[in-house]
Symmetry: C2
Subunit: 356 residues, 2 copies
């Protein structure tokens, strides 16, 4: 049976990237060694690293003055690394979900934190509007896509202070006006690579402005200076990231993938909105994530949720159980997920509905 | 031509672990999905994580009161994480190489650092003896194997204060009396897994004794509490680590591998000592690393080094160029390297010597 992979992350990657990764594990580039057992300083891996950084820069159209770095670990590490590097007195945070809240908590270790707005009052089912960004903040932090709650800031906002964004779950899903941001970071395990790799896009001029001493590995300048090779990087994850980026380029880049992502998300949201059983947890269309579509059974059909879980799972739907903070269902529609899988899910929902 | 992989790290892994990793990338456990695209919270990966921690504990005979955690990133991150968690007033460091020196530098961000002894006067070609560990230090830090310089502290030392060890390049190469240590850490990319994974073995009672607030991701207790699943761990590297640990267990464990490692290292050191062309950079037998054998051409034959580099490379020897801080050659003989490869290298050296 064909599996449709709606996992929220780690999540579906292009089949091509997966196959090339498996090949490289058995024999990398025909050198008779595995990608897992070669030096990160070998000319073979150096070429991978350089090409990955270049393609990353090209596809996101990153302007001069910015650097891309690849680090080990995940985005959670950036929650404290960002304020370590940037917070002198005060930072402002927009709290749109659990990860945004966690990020704001870590900043408190380093200075004053102002929560500009929060949507926690309604379990993060909307994105706050009309908030005022304090002009005396060292930076303003947003989480562009909220994986758990299915909301997304789909437009690049204007900020009077350095804008910092966690884009773990929507990077490469749409064009981004990088010039509006001072720093963008994210874990790679959604639209890019297996878990264990974090990317940081940083405008160099915002660094070096805080008084505190910064441990070497936490200091972004260390990794910029060394092209992400200060210490051993997560070699294999960078290799896979390169394969994903090549796939994305061949497909036409972020502009093209955005069209596909809109088509996929609309297809599913429309089906939910027309359904008698299901309801989307995020009411406002402009707040709805294109990456993670959250929905539950209407109150009167709540007891059918377990049945639909089983029903859909028997039809090859994987990873659609909602996060415990939301309940119900979540279908993650990352770049590599084909429209075909969304159609399969919708058919499954309709079939289930017809039965009840 | 058969390749002999003497890379210093990332380095040779058991072929079985490599093949199983490639298989799991195409289809993990027959579930129809890649190990790269499943949730770290899936029951399938949970089983991998738990088995890996259990086997890690079993093979190293880790006593009660200790916890094993798997983290993203590399050992360099531990250079500041260790003092963040443990350094209240003063830490003591034994400086036996570049990594040990780097570790001691990061500790200075958090308190006083006393260098108990250093072998930098002779380019780290020996391990200092008869040093006195200050009893007022919060901990004493050692680097058991010095990958760059080819020295190793092969015996577990007695310390009057908490003993902390970076065992990146000799973990699982020999039995270790864990009870003598408070904390052991290391990057996984030598004897365990691909780059991007770090292990920490920590005696729980040494934690929570410093006054400073610790960011969540830096606090070892976060990861202990969550069985290394506070955030998304490096899933694939943990999977490969499990395959390596299974291989090691089937082979008889660390006691058995130690015998093989001694045999391999002796074979190579003996050949170097008997050679007219080559000389080991570490004179004292007890200081010589079983993992990284460093050697150079004798002064009068120095100009032949380049020739031997080419000569050996044409015969399938990979990664034997010495680190720039030492020059000459370095053959890394990690667990997965067969004696056959050492014999091939020695033949190659003898053949070269016969020609000159």
């Amino acid at each position: 049976m064909k599996k449709h992979n709606f996992n929220a992350g780690p999540s579906i990657l292009p089949r091509e990237a997966i196959e090339k990764s498996a090949e490289a594990i058995l024999d990398f580039n025909g050198i008779g060694l595995s990608i897992l057992e070669i030096s990160h300083r070998s000319k073979e891996f150096d070429a991978v690293n350089i090409e990955a950084m270049a393609l990353f820069t090209e596809l996101l159209n990153i302007p001069d003055g910015y650097k891309v770095i690849f680090l080990g670990g995940g985005a959670s590490t950036q929650f404290f690394t960002v304020p370590y590097n940037l917070l002198q007195k005060k930072a402002a945070y927009l709290v749109t979900g659990s990860w945004a809240k966690k990020a704001s908590k870590e900043a408190k270790f380093f200075g004053e934190v102002q929560i500009v707005a929060s949507s926690e009052d309604k379990n993060f089912t909307y994105v706050p509007k009309n908030f005022v960004i304090p002009t005396d903040a060292d930076y303003f932090h947003i989480t562009t896509n909220n994986t758990i709650f299915g909301t997304e800031l789909k437009k690049d906002i204007d900020s009077p202070v350095t804008l910092v964004a966690d884009m773990s779950s929507d990077i490469f899903s749409r064009p981004v006006d990088i010039a509006k941001y001072g720093l963008i970071y994210g874990g790679a395990q959604k639209n890019l690579a297996p878990a264990g790799l974090t990317f940081v896009i940083v405008k160099e001029e915002i660094l070096g402005k805080v008084d505190r001493p910064i441990p070497t590995m936490v200091d972004y300048r260390t990794h910029i200076k060394n092209d992400s090779m200060f210490n051993t990087p997560p070699v294999f994850a960078i290799f896979t990231a390169l394969q994903t980026l090549k796939w994305l380029k061949a497909l036409g880049g972020v502009g093209e993938i955005q069209k596909k992502n809109i088509e996929k998300a609309n297809y599913l949201y429309d089906a939910i909105d027309e359904s008698k059983l299901f309801v989307a947890t995020v009411p406002l269309e402009e707040d709805r994530s294109l990456m993670n579509v959250c929905f539950v059974m209407k109150e009167e059909y709540k007891e059918l949720e377990k049945d639909f879980q089983t029903f859909s799972s028997e039809r090859g739907m994987i990873g659609i159980k909602g996060h415990r903070d939301v309940g119900g269902f979540r279908a993650s529609l990352y770049n590599a997920l084909p429209l075909e899988s969304v159609k399969a899910l919708v058919s499954c929902m309709q079939e289930f509905e017809a039965k009840h």
